[in-house]
Symmetry: C2
Subunit: 205 residues, 2 copies
């Protein structure tokens, strides 16, 4: 592109480094910001700079936090003996949004993926083992994606945790609510028959 201004070019180039943002989209967003008040643009830029500079990770569960201890780990009302292991902070937000979970979390910071060069030592796995070894834990829930990387990580975590004789569970897999059988993929449908559960009227809403 043929920019009339170096400032404009810099801003567009910075924006187009974001994932999924090309040069045309970047230009559109930058011109949008140019039409805003100067204070608004400063709020935007400073929010990003402050975020990167001041954000912390919870010392216990490694979730993104404003303090040394995140809101969830610091809350008095949570069940402190249940740990739900997730890939990243987005999963914590998704589970919190369900309103169905009241224990603590452990954010791994990724999944084991030899293809991307991510091994167990790149993730917060040792500190999970440490938590299970040193604090009273009643249950470890492994809530990982049903992908190759998720399954690899699941198996590795199981091997590391099994000797502590703490119940290890995974989230239920099967046909989604509202999903029709004929459109479900074969593996999901097959597994959901094999892992069928007793009918519970208490779960019907």
């Amino acid at each position: 592109m043929n920019f009339s201004s170096k400032l404009l070019e810099d801003a567009v180039n910075e924006f187009s480094k974001l994932p999924g943002v090309g040069q045309k989209t970047a230009l559109r967003l930058v011109l949008h910001l140019l039409n805003k008040e100067q204070e608004e643009v400063e709020l935007f830029g400073n929010a990003l700079i402050r975020l990167r500079k001041e954000i912390k990770h919870c010392q216990v569960c490694h979730n993104i936090s404003d303090n040394q201890l995140c809101n969830i780990c610091a809350a008095a009302k949570r069940e402190k003996e249940v740990i739900c292991v997730v890939e990243d902070t987005r999963d914590v937000m998704a589970i919190e949004n369900t309103g169905q979970y009241f224990g603590l979390y452990h954010v791994l910071g990724g999944l084991i993926s030899p293809m991307d060069g991510i091994g167990p030592s790149d993730l917060f796995i040792d500190s999970l083992v440490q938590r299970v070894a040193t604090t009273p834990v009643k249950e470890v829930i492994l809530a990982l994606s049903a992908t190759m990387e998720g399954d690899t990580t699941l198996f590795y975590l199981y091997k590391r945790l099994k000797d502590f004789h703490v119940p290890i569970t995974t989230i239920a897999r099967g046909i989604a609510f509202g999903g029709e059988l004929e459109y479900a993929d074969e593996i999901t449908l097959g597994r959901s028959i094999v892992t069928r559960v007793p009918y519970q009227t208490s779960l019907i809403k």
Copy 2:
């Protein structure tokens, strides 16, 4: 959404004010920035803040510029007696990218649109009339979009400029290169027959 951090929430909210960016996309972009080096995020934030603070508009053509006079108006080699009138700086970039135009520009800053409350006085129309009245001008090219607002603006500019006896032209409209006749809309095809032009072998590449 249920944010674990106020800093994160602020950054996501600022991002989701951008056009076409929802909360989920904003979160994805913010988490991407969190994984970058602090210097990179500062470059990004500061590029936006500096842009809004330091950007100028060319005193002659109102294009976005780093200086009082934009690169195009300041260039020695351009044909200074031809003015191409466009809606905004994106159109300047699009025409510059063709490499087919060597005159100057005049950026209106929008189009007349009574529906959006934009009248002639909100645009840089008086300064265009001033340029035509006080500097030697050989031709004014009106390169506006073929929309209702574009046509309204075109007609208004024609009325304001016609008494100066300067040739006023508009960019050619018709079937796009590579376009097939059977898929062209009726108005474009009809007009392109009415405004047919002599066959010129010199334009064949």
